[in-house]
């Protein structure tokens, strides 16, 4: 309900921002609500309440301690601000190009650009890279790469927050040396980390991925594939990057050719039953290629108990680990549990698509796989896996019922995804 009272005129940019805010920051998901309810009930449980007098005394002690800390902090901050006032601003110099309105970096020749910051951080952009400096201020530096490759050397002494937008991915940086690239045509993201650590978030199935020195992350959105590999120092320092070596971890959409005897050497303790629910241990292990650990954890806890109690994220991680180890029965059970227990979650939709992939691994599962893809297409008509689901359905229909029945699907596919992964197959089907 809006009032009819006259209100101040606002700028179109502000209107756009508020509309965007309303559209994108919507209601919480079922998983968020369930997680929040658990937390709320735990906080108000009788075991958590304490006698009032004790609480009062605790509060008084905390208040005294805080006042002392505050006084110390204020003194130190004022001193720091006074001494750092002159060097607070992050300055930079651009070699081989210039900065346009909005922070866009324009190359003056064809040799790439270098951006040198006064704190010691450096950014080298390969020829043809399209990028911009979104924010450069006292607290943060925010660089966006829309296309191409950039090599970063972020100074360890920097207290600033460094963020790098690379296509649809966000890289959060601490003192680090890394190279990152994004190709919008093939939708491939490639990050090679030589020193330090970064956290990558974006449309990857395992959520945030923390990388450490010597690791390489390649995420291909078109193939729905995420690969993390360990690199030798020589490989890591080579530039430009070569083709990725054998995968240590793969995410949905890719069946590895053969199971690897040992997972990537990343130190991690096995989950305990108490840690299972909502602990997100398995998605991290999945990203690190520790499939056997996930399967062992599930067996240790009990498969039935896991399917009945594990969080949505863990169930999907378990399903993927089982798929990669060719344990299709367990993968199917986990995916069915995901679909049944979290029907409104986006992971449930992913599970439906993956059920199709699992069915495809059985010779007799073709028609059932088509049924799963149909369900995905009906429930998520604009979902991220629509292209894959439609492409798989087209391929299986061709195999099961012949090209005549598959042609209408090929037409639909080409209309919606003219440059999609299955566009070649679709054109072949439609060829006279």
């Amino acid at each position: 309900m809006r009032t009819t009272t006259s209100e101040p005129k606002e700028s179109p940019a502000l209107t756009e921002a508020t509309d965007l805010c309303r559209d994108t920051l919507g209601p919480p998901t079922m998983a968020e609500l369930e997680r929040g309810l658990d937390g709320f009930l735990a906080r108000i449980s009788p075991q958590k309440t304490r006698p009032r007098r004790l609480v009062r005394w605790s509060r008084a002690s905390v208040a005294v301690a805080l006042c002392t800390l505050l006084a110390l902090q204020v003194t130190s901050v004022l001193r720091k601000r006074w001494s750092a006032r002159e060097s607070a601003t992050l300055a930079y110099r651009v070699d081989g190009g210039s900065v346009l309105e909005g922070g866009y970096l324009r190359e003056s020749g064809h040799t790439g650009m270098n951006v040198v910051f006064n704190e010691g951080s450096r950014l080298a952009l390969s020829p043809g890279t399209r990028s911009r400096l979104s924010v450069v201020d006292r607290d943060s530096a925010h660089v966006a790469i829309e296309r191409g490759k950039g090599s970063f050397q972020v100074a360890h002494k920097s207290n600033r927050r460094w963020l790098v937008d690379v296509g649809p991915f966000l890289v959060t940086v601490t003192g680090t040396v890394f190279t990152v690239s994004w190709d919008p045509v093939s939708e491939e993201f490639d990050l090679r980390l030589r020193e330090g650590s970064v956290v990558v978030s974006g449309p990857v199935s395992a959520g945030e991925i923390a990388l450490r020195a010597g690791q390489r992350l390649v995420a291909n959105l078109a193939k729905v594939e995420t690969v993390i590999t360990e690199e030798t120092p020589e490989q890591a320092s080579s530039d430009p990057p070569s083709a990725p070596p054998a995968p240590a971890a793969t995410s949905p959409g890719l069946q590895p050719p053969a199971p690897r005897p040992s997972p990537a050497p990343v130190a991690s303790k096995a989950s305990t039953p108490a840690k299972l629910a909502g602990d997100h241990q398995w998605s991290r292990k999945l990203a690190r290629g520790q499939w056997d650990h996930i399967l062992q954890d599930a067996e240790h806890i009990g498969v039935e108990a896991t399917l009945g109690e594990a969080s949505s994220e863990d169930l999907l991680a378990l399903a993927n680990a089982a798929r990669y180890r060719h344990r299709s029965d367990l993968a199917r059970s986990a995916l069915l549990a995901e679909r049944r227990r979290f029907p409104d979650s986006p992971r449930s939709l992913e599970a439906i698509y993956l059920l199709g992939r699992v069915e495809e691994s059985w010779e007799t599962g073709t028609s059932q796989a088509i049924a799963w893809y149909d369900e995905y297409l009906a429930r998520a008509p604009t979902g991220p896996l629509v292209g894959e689901a439609l492409g798989r359905k087209m391929t299986l229909t061709d195999k099961l019922e012949g090209p005549a029945r598959a042609r209408s699907l090929a037409e639909e596919y080409l209309r919606r995804f003219p440059k999609g992964n299955y566009a070649g197959s679709a054109r072949e089907l439609l060829a006279p």
Binding site: M1, R2, T5, P8, E16, A91, L133, V136
Partner: protein, 204 residues
Amino acid sequence: MPTIPSHVPLSLVVGQDRRAASDGDVARALSAGETWAAAETWRRFAPMVLTLAKRTLGSHSEAEDIGQDVFCRVYRKVRTLREPDSFRNFVYTCALRVLQTELHRKKMRSWLSFEQPDLLDCRGCGTPDMESRDLLRRFYSLLDRLAPSDRVVFVLRRVESMSIEEIATTMETSESTVKRSLARASSRLSRWMDDAPRLAGGER
């Protein structure tokens, strides 16, 4: 000890459908300490509270924390509610108070440099394109510059689409105060948004 035979006929007791209970029933049950009422309060009002928190703070993780604080406050204060039928308004008012307190705290912390203000966490905000994410980040960094009460009024009016009267009632203030806050917030944000993105310190 001998067992005394009971002559009360056995009957099947079926759990009530709590969703049919009115807001007032839920408030009364929560006040009386009935166990089902806490979960029902969450189910009924959490979407509203979490969405408001997310839009006001611009952060999913902070919104989740604030949601917990809001419902704990509701749980503690429900006995002071005089009109159980206005339970929804009570929850909303609690949410606004907790949010304003949090915004004051954030301002204080950023002034004291205990921590840098959080940049918008765009995971799950449903906008994969870079321009939109940039715009949202810029919008929230500008909101951070507003006074907490102006920021809340602006979000309620322009994002939550509440009327001036509703805002005044929920924030327990006058309509003219709300209008002044809104005018102040809109004009400042418009001016700041129209400024070209500034890059400090660059040698151009």
